[in-house]
Amino acid sequence: MLSAILNGKGRRLPETIAAGSSLRAAFSKSEDMLTASVFERLAYLDAPVLWKLLVATFAPRILPDEQRVELVSVEFWPMWSEASNEIGKSVEPDVVLRLDVGDPARRIALIVECKLDSFQYPDQWAQEWKACQAEMASSDEVQGTYFLALGGFRERPEQLVSRFTEFIRQKHALEIKAAAASWSDLLKAVSRMQPDCQRTRRVLADIYLALELHGFREFRGLNDLAAMPQFRSLRDLDDALTRWKTPSQARAVRDWSFLDSSVPNRPITHHSILAKHWK
């Protein structure tokens, strides 16, 4: 959120947000707030964890499986103008990450284009790719570029990437290295990480909550329960319960001890109220 505000996003509420709405409502509909919330926190992760998460999230698997990774910089909404003559305008990718990966280290740039309630489109990918090449040409340190599309499509990521890269090859004569993921893919990847480090767990939990706030949720249906064979062989528990029936004398003692308590640890009022509620 901080990066979104610092970069001039969210200057005014969208027209779809009614006056008097909560910040939560405004926040949860904003692509920029989601982008900032997620990538600010991704940048807090140790670089190898961040890299592992990105590798697990995006398809096809174009990011190399490297152990040695350093995060060099994260830029939110940089304005790229070096190629504006060719493109006809400046372009503004959502996030640009620069990382040193491998041994010996190779500097790479990740261009991230995020969509929440709109669709990815290939001309934007091509423009950002061209702009990136022009920007990076002024410094020779970046040796590889990858384009990552997050959200804004309904097909499988591999299909989207195949379709878009072919379109860009034909129309713009560009070969781009791209991968894509839905926000739900990111959510799944986050939930499957099993870090030992407490700090990492906290950051990942925050990312998960940010995604949930924007409506991306995992859903395990009750239907699954019926398909879990390990639970199907429960014996007749009613019989077992009869055998284990609490002796009434023990119950009486327990009830008495509760009533005798000088500080009731049971909210008696709740019982009387709720017994009235729930017949």
């Binding site: 008097g20 709405s21 909560s22 910040l23 939560r24 409502a25 949860s28 949930e212 409506g215 949720r217 995992e218 859903f219 395990r220 249906g221 009750l222 239907n223 699954d224 329960l225 019926a226 879990m228 390990q230 639970f231 062989s233 429960l234 014996r235 528990l237 009613d238 077992a240 319960l241 009869t242 055998r243 284990w244 029936k245 609490t246 119950r251 327990r254 009830d255 001890s257 509760f258 009533l259 308590s261 640890n265 049971r266 909210p267 008696i268 709740h270 019982h271 009387s272 109220i273 709720l274 017994a275 009235k276 509620h277 729930w278 017949k279």
Partner: protein
């Protein structure tokens, strides 16, 4: 020896039962979240166990309490409010969403201070597991807390699909109960909530969004 084997088998069942309950609760969380997602800006407000207390605080002995207290999702209500709703002031037209989970209808309404014994319950296969959705619509401005001044002191509608009107606090309620067996996947949850939203809106003469 035989008794020992039987005990071992019983404890295997206990372990399985705990695992099953975990899997069930994990899915219930998802159902609750998917349900609130169907409404605009609906955030968690309060939760309350029904007929039992919440598990004891860390510094309180649980041993003089009911064992049921350690199973809070046996029956509980979860309340949600729109993000712009003030907690201590109910305004006309604002509403509260209640999701009431009753995991076992075989659990009887207990006489005060007498812990129900599961051995006395109606056999489990003759009972059901239910989720009731209730809309609490404020009919007139009222300076009361939504939990203590509204939810805790207001009778529930006796029946599903009927509007219950409370004069004090001034609220109109509409509820519907779903058998959890019919809410097995996201599509069925979505369909149930869409229908509830439409029917409750019509019954309460408002638009629940």
């Amino acid at each position: 020896m035989t008794e020992n084997l039987e005990m071992q088998a019983a404890l295997v069942d206990v372990r399985k039962a705990y695992r099953l309950v975990w899997a069930y609760q994990r899915r219930l969380f998802d159902i609750v979240k998917a349900t609130t997602d169907e409404f605009e800006d609906m955030g968690f407000y309060y939760w309350q166990t029904i007929h039992t207390a919440r598990p004891a605080n860390s510094g309180s002995s649980p041993f003089s309490r009911w064992a049921w207290d350690m199973l809070p999702m046996r029956r509980a209500s979860f309340l949600f409010l729109n993000g712009s709703t003030e907690r201590n002031l109910a305004r006309k037209g604002q509403w509260m969403l209640e999701l009431h989970l009753n995991s076992d209808t075989g659990f009887p309404v207990p006489p005060i201070n007498s812990e129900p014994d599961a051995a006395d319950f109606t056999p489990a296969d003759q009972c059901s597991s239910e989720l009731t959705i209730c809309a609490w619509l404020c009919a007139e401005d009222a300076p009361c807390n939504w939990f203590h001044g509204v939810w805790s002191v207001t009778e529930w509608p006796e029946n599903d699909n009927e509007v219950y009107m409370s004069a004090k606090p001034p609220f109109h309620l509409f509820r519907r109960t779903f058998d959890l067996a019919g809410l097995g996947d996201r599509a069925s949850v979505h369909a149930a909530i869409v229908k509830f939203k439409a029917d409750a809106s019509a019954a309460l003469n408002t638009t629940l969004s």
